[in-house]
Structures are given as structure tokens and as C-alpha cells.
Amino acid sequence: MRLCVAALAALVVACNGGLGPAPAPTSCPKNFTGICGTVKIRGAIPDSTDVVYLVAYHTFPQSRGDLFNFVPFPPPTVSLVDTTYFYTLPLPNGRYEWVLAVWKKQGPMLTIGNADSLLREAGYYKRSDADTSRFGAGIVVVNSIGTDSIDFVVDFTNMHPVSFYFPAVTVRR
């Protein structure tokens, strides 16, 4: 009987440690590789909003085809419940030239063909409100740890379709 009780007690102790509540983070979690920061929501959320994705590009896309060379996959989404949102974006080690929020409109399934009508760039790291067409200042390097304070603004009043960048292929740095 003692043996049974001891075995049962050992089992109960062994079965500790399952998943538990995890409060929304306010900084990069431990053992996390990627970037973290706060997204501030500006402007009224369009009624046609499906979702807002967060993605990163190693190099700034040079064509429409490059638009899909983002990481990570599947991309995490931004909660639009509050006006600020702390995000964590898991990324492989490397240098990233463009970290941005992509607004997706409700509608049919996304293809390269309809990307221009369904997707908008809604804000990116170190976007200048004075000149939203400029990019390249917000370079981020990930090196096996979580990089904090990659904060930026999602501005629903100032979003840009794919055609804003392509075929306007001029690369300005």
C-alpha cells in the first residue's frame, strides 16, 4: 500500500508543469530569437479589414515577385482591439531591411494577381511620416536573441498598395 501511495505521489509530482496562463508579453521572451516592439494604431480601422500581418524582408523587394520572400511563415497578426499592441516576431538570424505591417482586405483568396487590391503597406519600422516612400533606415539585425524596441506605427489613414512600390521600381535609399 505504501508503495502504491509513493508511486501515486511521484506521478502527481511528475505530471506538474503543463501549459499555464501566459500574460501578454511586454518584452521579448527568454530564449526567443527575433524582434519585439510596440505597434501603435493610428486612424480608424477600415470596415473591410480582414487582418494585419507582421512580416520582415532580408532585402527590400525589388519586384512584385519578391513581395512573397518574407519571413516568418505563417506571419503573425496584429491585434486591433487596443491602440497599442506589443508584438513578437520570430525571425531567423540575419539582417532585415524591411519590417512592416501589411493590411489585408476581406475578400477572395490572395494571389499575386489580386495582391494590389487586397494588400496595403500599413506602416514599417522607421517610416518617416514626412516621406512614406522612403525606407532603408530601419535595418534590424537578429543574432540568436530577442531584439526589443522595434516600435512603429500602423497608420490606417496612410496605407500604400503594391502599385505604390511596383511597378514604380525606383529604389530610393
Partner: protein, 722 residues
């Protein structure tokens, strides 16, 4: 008498006397009165012998008149002899009652497509008996099979020694058989575990390792055979009522409803048997509120089985089942901001609001007819035809998807025992699958196969060699040939048995993997009609041994699988598309260890099973790199039962180590699975009651990304048998 005959009689009187014969007939039964099938009945000192049919009946003709000694023998029973005086030109009835041999290895039918003693099988086999299934008060087959040593279920996908991983239901590297008939879906290649009611299954055999030498495609990682209950003599009925409830979340911040989720169901079976006909019908329904948000499920089913003895050595078996399910779809748990998150990073009991209202209707059924005949003691054969139908509709906000698929199959198989030391199994098999779906298109696949395997006894050893050739054709195109050989040996040494095998397995890509065209998370999934079969070589060395008068049995096996061209979903960066491709070379190696102790201490029995798995992708064909996703390194089960008269209590513990790697959501929290089940049973006359508390400690974990594994559930099952 003619003049010629009179002359012969005068010339050869002794010869005529030697030809005087009679008939001996009767039945071989066990101590409960059930007929023993395939028992051998022979005359000592003579070559005359025969085998009993499925009812245990036998008939020996041309038996020399006079005193003889008749012997009956069957696997698992002590042989019996009887002295008989055979009267010329008359029949003599001789019945035998055989006593089961204690501690003898069980009989299995899956490993060699014929009856074999477990200790004669060249590969590892795990067994689940009906008493073990009943003891667990389980509601479905997968709940029962999930506890078999070395087996793990990931959201309905069976893994035998880590074979399948998790591929969202598209393709299974495990073949499901129902009474030996293949039952993987025609379109997706997956398995509908709710095709049959759990109560209809008498025994489950799990054959581990590549089994394509006999079973062809999908048997790459192993074979699971559900053997349904035989129809007993006379009229019988069985009613099983099951009811229970789910525990709520262990933390208030995860609470998602104000009531206790319940589950309940009823199964009714009626049967009647008297030669030459016997039949059984079953019907059942169940409802579950589920343990998460949007997790309700309703299930209805009917099943039937009929047997007709055409003559003493020929039998026709017809069986079928139809099941219909309507269930909500808790695709993935909710992340911050995608539901009422209460400040949490994720809410494991809630779903993303974008998926609210999604549900599925799924209908599936099968029909099988088998004619088996034992025309002589040395030859037996069977012919079967089967039809499996699946039909689903996913009702989703973004648009409904549907798929209707059929799989027609046929097989002709013969078993030849030309010599007591030799058994040969040969056969041919055909299968034809078709699908009509908005996401898989309209396509067909045909499979033609021939196989043969021989077992030869050489002293204390049994050597097995065999091979199967499969030809595959998609949409009427060219044939792709796959050859799957297998070599094996069993050597009895003292109280132990050594076994070794080397075999090749393969899996043809499912029609879904070849032709799927849909969107996942906004990303297009594109077809790859050029997909080729994935292949694997599996080697195994095992040893089984009994201790303490066989009250303790130990079985250990080392296994090694080299897989190539594994089919996996690949994200094509440049096109932002997903496609199934022949990609990975992989190595899965490890150790399977099981120990069972029956009556070691008074009334106590226990089993222990452990699997160590090393699963790696191979870069440049040979160098192990990252772990294969969704494979645990350690898998352990412990079971203990204590019987006290009509009552019994027991506990089971299952441990699966944290997956080293998962796909898609690498950074999501994940933990090891540590699940304790408690059960109790009581039997009195026709009534039996079983209580099961599964996941008794309400351990919260996930095996599949963002999908909560079942929480604590208390279930009571009451069975009345007439």
C-alpha cells in the same frame, strides 16, 4: 457383383479387405463450446488429416476400417487424442474439446496474412484485446489504439515508431485494415477512426515496421488491423450506454463556458447464429459538447455482419458499416487579440473569432464480401471485394469545400502448406480510387499488385522470404512499378525467441497530395502531379523471453528505418505557394521495449512499454541534421490492474517527451505529455460497468500546434449482454 469383380475378389481377397473404409466426422470445440477454426484432425500413423472450418466442424473420408487413434490439435490448445473403431461403409462421430494452453503466445493474423503464433512472427506486433478496450471505457477506436506500445496519435494521425508525424490528415504512413481489408481513404489516404463503433472491435493488431511486402502502399510505417467480433451461436444482444463529462479549464483566466461539457452515447447490437447462417447488426449514436469552444460533435452509425456457410469448407462473409458525423471545427486556439484574450498571449480553450461557425459534415462507409475456402488440409484460399466511400463538406466563412471519394478493392489469396515445414502465401490485389472535390479536382488512381511470401522451418529456425510488386497508374496514365521485398527469421532458443527482419515499405502519394489546390492562411497550395512514391527500408532485431514460469514476458526490439523521397509540404518563397514535394531523406532508429507481468503478485498485473526514437532528416543523403518534426524522443506507457473478484481497479500513465521540432509555429509553447488515466470495473451476470477518468490530473498540453489535447474526462460505460 459383376463377373469381373468376383474374379478380382478371388484373386486379391486381402487387397479388397484393405480398401474397406468409413467416414469420421465431428467438431472441435474449446471449453466454452465455441468451435475451433483451423484445428488439425489427423490419424496417428497415417497421412490422413484435415482442418476444421470456422465452426470447428471436420470430416475425414476414406478412413481405413478398424481401430485408429484420432488426434486434434490447434494453435493455443493442448492436443487431444481419441481411440475409435471405424466401421466399414459407415460414419462415426468423434467430437473433441480442447483446453487452451496457459501462457502460450497469442495467435495473430495480420503479420503474415494468415494465422500464426505471435512468437513465429518476424516483426514486432502489439495487441489490444477486447478486455483491454472495455476496461478503458473508450468511445472510439483511436482512443483504444493510442495506448498501444510504440503508437502515438497526433490529432487522429497514427504514428508507429514515429512514422507519420503530423501532416494535417493528408496521407498516412500507417495502413488501416478492417478484418484484413484496407480502409484508408481513397482521396486523402488518411484514416477515419470512427468508421466502426469501438464496441464492435474484438481485437486490434498493430504490426510495426514496413509491411509493404504483403500490404503495399501506406504500410510504410506499419499496419493496424481492427478485428471485429465473431458472431456467436444462438441469439444475443448487447447494449452499451456511455456517459460522462469534461473538466473545465484549471485556470479561471481560461474559462470559456458556464456549464459542464458532457458526452454520451448508446450502442445496440443484436446477433443470431446457427449454421449455415449467422448475422449481427449494430446501431449507435453519441453526442459530445467537447472540451473547448466550438467543439461539439454528433455521431450516428450502423454496422452489420453476416456469415453464410456454403458447404463444410466454404464460407461467405459480408460486412459493412456507415457512419455520419457533424462536428464543429476548433482549428487552432486563439492568440492575443483574436478573441476575448483577457490579457493573455493565447487562450487554449477558445478559437480565433475568424473561425467561429465553421463546421464539417462527414459521411463514410464500407462494404466487404469475402469468400474463404479450405478445400484440403494443404490449401486454403480467399477472394474478397470491398468498397470504401468517404464524403465530406467543410462549411466555412471563406467558402465551403467538399470531397467525395471511393475506393474499390479486390484480392485473391491462397495459403499452401505443401509440407509441415513450409507455408507459402500468394495473392493478387487490385484497388481503384476516385475523387470529386473542389480542392482535389476529379481524378482516379489504379493499383495492381501481386505478392508472395514463404516460410520454411529449418530446425529451430523459421526463415521467411517474400516480395510484392505494385503497379500504380494515375488518371489512366503510365504505370509506376514499386517492388517491396522482405526477409525475416525467427529462432527459438530456450525460453526465448529471436527475430530479425529486413523489409521495404512505400507509400503512393494520395490523390489529395498530388492535386490539392486551395488556400491555407491566405497562401495558395498548388498541385504536383509528378509526385513519386516515398520509400523506406526497415531493419529490426528483436528478442522475446519469458521469466518466472512465463508470468513475466519481456520483448525488446532495435529498429532502423532509412526513408527517402518523403512527401512533405514545402513553402516556395519565390512564389508564396505551398506544394507537396518528394523532399526529405530521413532516419528513424530506436528501441522498443515492453514488459508484461501477469499474476506476478496475487491479482496484480502490469505492463510497461518504452520507445526510444531517434528521428532525423538527412542532409546530402547521409548526414543527420535537424530532427524530424512531431516525433518524441521518448514514449513511455505504464499500466497496472488489480482484480478483486468481480471488481477491478487500474491506472495507466503515458509520457511523450517534448517534440524537439514542430513545423510552422516553432516558438509556440510546448511541453512533454504526461497523462494519467484511472479506471475501475465491475461485472455481475449480464451487467458490466466501467469507470474511466482520463487525464485524471487535468494536465494541459498540446501535441499539434495551437491545438489543445484532451483535458480530464470522467466516463461511465454500462454494458448489458444477453
Amino acid at each position: 457383383m459383376s463377373r469381373r469383380c468376383l474374379l478380382l475378389c478371388a484373386l486379391f481377397p486381402a487387397g479388397l479387405q484393405a480398401q474397406a473404409t468409413g467416414i469420421v466426422y465431428g467438431a472441435v470445440r474449446d471449453t466454452t463450446g465455441h468451435g475451433v477454426r483451423a484445428a488439425s484432425v489427423s490419424i496417428t500413423g497415417s497421412r490422413l488429416r484435415t482442418n476444421t472450418g470456422s465452426t470447428g466442424a471436420y470430416r475425414l473420408e476414406a478412413v481405413p476400417a478398424g481401430p485408429i487413434t484420432l488426434q486434434a490439435a490447434a494453435l493455443g490448445f493442448q492436443p487431444e487424442s481419441s481411440a475409435v473403431n471405424v466401421t466399414p461403409n459407415d460414419s462415426t462421430r468423434v467430437d473433441f474439446t480442447l483446453r487452451a494452453v496457459q501462457n502460450l503466445a497469442p495467435i495473430v493474423v495480420t503479420a503474415g496474412k494468415r494465422q500464426q503464433s505471435l512468437q513465429d512472427v518476424v516483426t514486432s506486433v502489439a495487441l489490444m484485446t477486447d478486455s483491454a478496450i472495455a476496461r478503458r471505457a473508450v468511445n472510439s477506436i483511436d482512443e483504444a489504439v493510442d495506448r498501444a506500445p510504440g503508437v502515438q496519435f497526433l490529432n487522429g494521425q497514427a504514428n508507429i515508431r514515429g512514422s507519420t508525424g503530423y501532416v494535417q490528415g493528408l496521407g498516412s504512413r500507417v495502413l488501416l485494415l478492417v478484418d484484413g481489408v484496407p480502409a484508408n481513404q481513397g482521396d486523402r489516404g488518411g484514416i477515419n477512426w470512427d468508421l466502426l463503433p469501438a464496441d464492435a472491435v474484438e481485437r486490434v493488431e498493430v504490426v510495426k515496421g514496413a509491411g509493404s511486402a504483403l500490404y503495399g502502399s501506406a504500410a510504410l510505417g506499419g499496419v493496424v488491423n481492427l478485428i471485429t467480433r465473431d458472431v456467436p451461436d444462438d441469439a444475443h444482444a448487447r447494449v452499451r450506454v456511455i456517459g460522462g463529462g469534461f473538466a473545465g479549464p484549471p485556470h479561471d483566466v481560461w474559462k470559456f463556458r458556464d456549464y459542464t461539457g458532457i458526452e454520451g452515447g448508446v450502442d445496440v447490437t443484436a446477433s443470431w447464429g446457427r449454421d449455415p447462417f449467422r448475422g449481427a447488426v449494430a446501431a449507435g449514436t453519441r453526442h459530445s459538447d467537447g472540451y473547448r469552444q466550438q467543439d461539439q460533435r454528433d455521431h450516428w452509425q450502423v454496422a452489420g455482419k453476416g456469415q453464410y456457410r456454403l458447404d463444410p469448407v466454404t464460407r461467405l462473409d459480408v460486412s459493412g458499416a456507415w457512419a455520419s458525423d457533424q462536428y464543429e471545427v476548433p482549428l487552432s486556439w486563439c492568440l492575443r487579440g483574436r478573441c476575448d484574450d483577457r490579457g493573455q498571449a493565447y487562450q487554449p480553450f477558445m478559437v480565433d473569432t475568424s473561425g467561429l461557425g465553421d463546421h464539417t459534415r462527414s459521411d463514410k462507409g464500407y462494404l466487404t464480401a469475402v469468400v474463404s475456402r479450405d478445400p484440403s488440409p494443404t490449401v486454403s484460399w480467399l477472394a474478397r471485394a470491398s468498397w470504401l466511400r468517404t464524403d465530406f463538406t467543410d462549411f466555412q466563412r471563406a467558402g465551403n469545400d467538399f470531397g467525395k471519394a471511393n475506393r474499390f478493392g479486390g484480392e485473391l489469396r491462397g495459403v499452401i502448406r505443401s509440407d509441415p515445414r513450409q507455408v507459402v502465401t500468394v495473392g493478387g490485389e487490385v484497388a481503384f480510387s476516385d475523387v470529386t472535390s473542389d480542392i482535389f479536382g476529379v481524378h482516379t488512381q489504379a493499383e495492381y499488385a501481386a505478392y508472395g511470401e514463404g516460410e520454411h522451418r529449418l530446425g529451430a529456425a523459421r526463415l521467411t522470404t517474400g516480395a510484392r510488386i505494385d503497379f500504380l497508374a494515375v488518371d489512366g496514365g503510365g504505370l509506376t512499378a514499386v517492388v517491396s521485398p522482405r526477409l525475416g527469421a525467427v529462432l527459438a532458443a530456450g525460453r526465448g525467441v529471436w527475430r530479425a527482419s529486413l523489409g521495404r515499405g512505400f507509400r503512393a502519394p494520395s490523390l489529395a497530395e498530388r492535386f490539392v489546390s486551395t488556400f491555407v492562411s491566405g497562401i495558395r497550395v498548388i498541385p504536383d502531379p509528378s509526385l513519386r512514391p516515398e520509400e523506406a527500408w526497415t531493419a529490426e532485431v528483436g528478442h522475446a523471453r519469458g521469466f518466472a514460469d512465463d508470468r513475466v514476458r519481456v520483448d525488446a526490439a532495435l529498429f532502423w528505418t532509412e526513408a527517402r523521397r518523403l512527401i512533405e509540404p514545402v513553402f516556395i518563397d519565390t512564389l508564396a505557394q505551398i506544394q507537396f514535394q518528394n523532399l526529405a531523406r530521413a532516419r528513424l532508429a530506436g528501441l522498443d521495449l515492453s514488459l508484461s507481468a501477469a499474476s506476478l503478485m496475487p491479482r496484480l498485473s502490469a505492463t510497461f512499454a518504452y520507445t526510444f526514437l531517434y528521428a532525423r532528416e538527412l542532409a546530402h543523403d547521409t548526414t543527420p541534421t535537424r530532427p524530424l518534426p512531431f516525433r518524441p524522443r521518448h514514449l513511455l506507457t505504464l499500466d497496472a490492474d488489480y482484480a478483486l473478484g468481480a471488481a477491478s481497479v487500474g491506472a495507466a500513465f503515458r509520457y511523450s517527451s517534448r517534440f524537439e521540432r514542430v513545423e510552422l509555429y516553432e516558438t509556440d509553447p510546448r511541453v512533454a505529455a504526461k497523462v494519467v488515466d484511472l479506471h475501475a470495473g465491475w461485472t455481475r451476470g449480464p451487467l458490466a460497468a466501467h469507470l474511466l477518468v482520463s487525464n485524471a490530473l487535468n494536465y494541459i498540453y498540446t501535441l499539434v500546434p495551437r491545438t489543445l489535447a484532451p483535458v480530464r474526462k470522467v466516463t461511465v460505460a454500462v454494458t448489458w449482454t444477453y
